[in-house]
Symmetry: D3
Amino acid sequence: MLVEFGDTKVICTASVEETVPSFLKGKGQGWVTAEYGMLPRSTGTRMRREAAAGKQSGRTQEIQRLIGRSLRAVVDLVKLGERQITIDCDVIQADGGTRTASITGAWVALADAVDSLIAQGKLAENPIREAVAAVSVGIVGEEPVLDLDYIEDSGCETDMNVVMTASGRFIEVQGTAEGVPFTREEMDMLLDLAGKGIAQLVELQSAARR
Amino acid sequence: MLVEFGDTKVICTASVEETVPSFLKGKGQGWVTAEYGMLPRSTGTRMRREAAAGKQSGRTQEIQRLIGRSLRAVVDLVKLGERQITIDCDVIQADGGTRTASITGAWVALADAVDSLIAQGKLAENPIREAVAAVSVGIVGEEPVLDLDYIEDSGCETDMNVVMTASGRFIEVQGTAEGVPFTREEMDMLLDLAGKGIAQLVELQSAARR
Amino acid sequence: MLVEFGDTKVICTASVEETVPSFLKGKGQGWVTAEYGMLPRSTGTRMRREAAAGKQSGRTQEIQRLIGRSLRAVVDLVKLGERQITIDCDVIQADGGTRTASITGAWVALADAVDSLIAQGKLAENPIREAVAAVSVGIVGEEPVLDLDYIEDSGCETDMNVVMTASGRFIEVQGTAEGVPFTREEMDMLLDLAGKGIAQLVELQSAARR
Amino acid sequence: MLVEFGDTKVICTASVEETVPSFLKGKGQGWVTAEYGMLPRSTGTRMRREAAAGKQSGRTQEIQRLIGRSLRAVVDLVKLGERQITIDCDVIQADGGTRTASITGAWVALADAVDSLIAQGKLAENPIREAVAAVSVGIVGEEPVLDLDYIEDSGCETDMNVVMTASGRFIEVQGTAEGVPFTREEMDMLLDLAGKGIAQLVELQSAARR
Amino acid sequence: MLVEFGDTKVICTASVEETVPSFLKGKGQGWVTAEYGMLPRSTGTRMRREAAAGKQSGRTQEIQRLIGRSLRAVVDLVKLGERQITIDCDVIQADGGTRTASITGAWVALADAVDSLIAQGKLAENPIREAVAAVSVGIVGEEPVLDLDYIEDSGCETDMNVVMTASGRFIEVQGTAEGVPFTREEMDMLLDLAGKGIAQLVELQSAARR
Amino acid sequence: MLVEFGDTKVICTASVEETVPSFLKGKGQGWVTAEYGMLPRSTGTRMRREAAAGKQSGRTQEIQRLIGRSLRAVVDLVKLGERQITIDCDVIQADGGTRTASITGAWVALADAVDSLIAQGKLAENPIREAVAAVSVGIVGEEPVLDLDYIEDSGCETDMNVVMTASGRFIEVQGTAEGVPFTREEMDMLLDLAGKGIAQLVELQSAARR
């Protein structure tokens, strides 16, 4: 599926394998993992192709681990059975918010893949407990802002990524101040704003289901 | 730009840098090069992400060298001036013919980039001599076939990639028989058929120009 | 210097180079960065030596970026001048809390190095604005806990790393729920507890200055 | 065995293993593959040792795949049985034509290895259908030329590698024009000339059999 | 255990695994191996972290092979049984003599580990035949010198590493003259001196046993 | 040049560059270095190609450093001027003694290269002080043996490599006992025997000069 937030476009696809990584062999549970990539020209200036560089950047690894962790937090891995679902998130065009768009879209791809497994009779019960989505919030000037286009990836802003479930629980909170450190009051405002953003995304996810 | 041949979809983009690789510094000429990649799920079965594997496969390197060579054959590198144009060809969906689709689309991206340089007053004269396109032809049963969907990448067929200019000259002919070696008569039929296919593609390229 | 928190022991050293990374050349400012490592037998079970494996794990890269970012947030890089300070944090013995111990100790090593530069007349003014320290907090059962020994690195607990300045501002908040997602109330309790822990560490840092 | 064409010298050796690569396990067939290398001082100017560089160049990989493919095209892999023959082609001195000399010599090494297997009673029937050899042809000025010494590896000439069987069938045709693209008439002349060259090489191969 | 020779400090630890490397599987014997590393700031000037460089230097590999070989020379690997003991030698502070300090300390770590195995009833008989230690000797001016602090690692001196057993037999002699080659008389003096140094170290090892 | 000792065959070539490695820039002296490689089928059983493995083994690195060090010990690097001579030693066929054959042959290649520089008027004075050669000696049963064919590379023998100058001085002594450690008396016998072997090789080197 193609996820679009403003000018950011991410292709999210799910691949199901009827096997699990070796560390889970024979444990009676499944696994959900993710890989992330950006096309070299997805950004305004061409960035180096990671396959040509011979390795994934630390940022890429961090993002793909975050996506995988976020999805696993809402999946009952025992109910999934001994299979692995890999979600690939590939950024075709980047205009901020690629990691939050990836998580939000990855959940839809995962939910569709699980529906197929149920339709094929491979799964008796849905292992997904609830939806998960992600937003970036930040402080511009003195105002808290929910805005995927400008906050992430600008490198020098205060920036907080929040991964939340449909029921309003936190899976991941990553707030970073490369510039001026932020206060507890600012933090509270950011968390409130994130909660509102997540609620909107969960509605969009519902609408996007196949 | 997005190139589609049947179910094969390739994103071709051009990036211009006002510098040349070190081996060309001070030689008064430019360079045209290409990079190629496939999304892991572009094929029916998920393939391993090259960035995760830590290197580009030999096949990837071979294809990107072929694309670059094909484009340079129709460009006057001195007229291009001391700048480099990099064409990225990223396969979003693969159903055969990815290398020929990439070359055909890469030329359009290159031509558009050159038009922009002219419009910006950076180039006085168009360095592109003529169009270049590529087709795959092969032998199925005893019949020569021009068919992007089934021939390439099936691994066990006789298969010939032909890169030709709009004026009907050859830039590259790569014919391989993994199965039964082919005769001179078969070769002549394949070359005739390739010429017809190229003529059609050159018209499609014209239509696709921005 | 050797930092000890419970049974966790980390050697933190600062190295000053009178040059900056190339991306900062001629910009009139300095840089602070960090590298992190663990001896193979620092943990109960011997882990693989990263130099032998041929690369740093994603976890190692993530931690060293976090240490660097935390230190830069309290340093005026322009006042530091065109020089780079590299802090090496090497874990000799690990019993949880290695990343927070590293940040807390790294600040002391940095502050001592800056004192030397001032003593040598190389710096007129102290570029460090205030102290920075880090704690891990988590939820065990239903209780918020401030406990370096048990929380971090156990892999299956809710766990929040908080990097704060002496004046109580946040530089980094990383909260992750691999298990059950946590509520807003739990988050607030964790942040309160983290603030108390940081205040104690800042006193210990003062005492440890050379 | 040592193959010499003009001043080009290549050592071709065959190694037989009584096992097959994992992708062929239990399929009741064998495999033939090749590896290629050049001594650093085989060329006039010392080139970098690939083992020191830490990887094989794209050119090396392309050549070794071509050699393997050419040999497999004349071998009945089922008759070969579940074993692998690896042909190493190492260039001791290079004066053009290293890839065609390698293919031509590799076939002799392969044929000798198969003879040994038959002599040892490990093979009942010869799995090699016919000989295979390779030539480079090109256009110098306006003349087609069959000349191993000057054509290949000069980098800026029109150049065609042709791999053919003793019975005159094509296994591989790779024609490249980095300079002026070539016409169909030129192509026909080149293919005629290649056929004559191959016939001579097949006689030399016979004479060189152990 | 922490080994100190002058200002050189090395942490030596033993890890026991109840398995052997694959080349020894089912041969009824064990294995002893070693890994070596230096903290980046163990030397006066910070050296590059090998894990960050992505590989171990040749020097590191040479030293760890030497340590392993020295230990195996005094161990009855059959009596050790099918288990592997890995000794990690990590240099915390380097002031010359790191390789000889490592060997000398590694033996103590090994002997302690074997004692534990005996205490746990896993070994009936001690597989260590005798102690092993190592010294560096060299020629400064015209005088033979036994001095760990100045000789090794200075790069331009005549330098000889001698690994000997408690009973005065040689396991390894590595003498190198980067400067003026040395005579047979000088060699004899160096070997005499080494023997005296080893005798002292064997006493210190006894004292250091746990 | 091709060096043969028994069935061991090594190609030794010298390449002269009119530049020095960066660590010697502007120091008014030259450099001599060596690289070493083995063809995959130089041994009885095919070994893995290092370029395909993606790195040189520790053994390869150790040998090439030893060759370079041995040659530099007899060269006045200041007289050589600001140029580098690289000696490539490539083993075509290995039957023991490859490292000693390489050193012995490398010196001849170096001496020939220096002669050419003198003949071309690039060097006024010969920077080579004297010849250098290498032998392996060992103990078989209780007898000291000078025998290139059986000693080296067998892996389980006492084995000593000795690099000596024509005037009988030592550059390198590497004696290793993987089996039973050896006594001082045995060592003295081995050194005597090595001296005799070196004297013979120096005569052969003279005879082999171009």
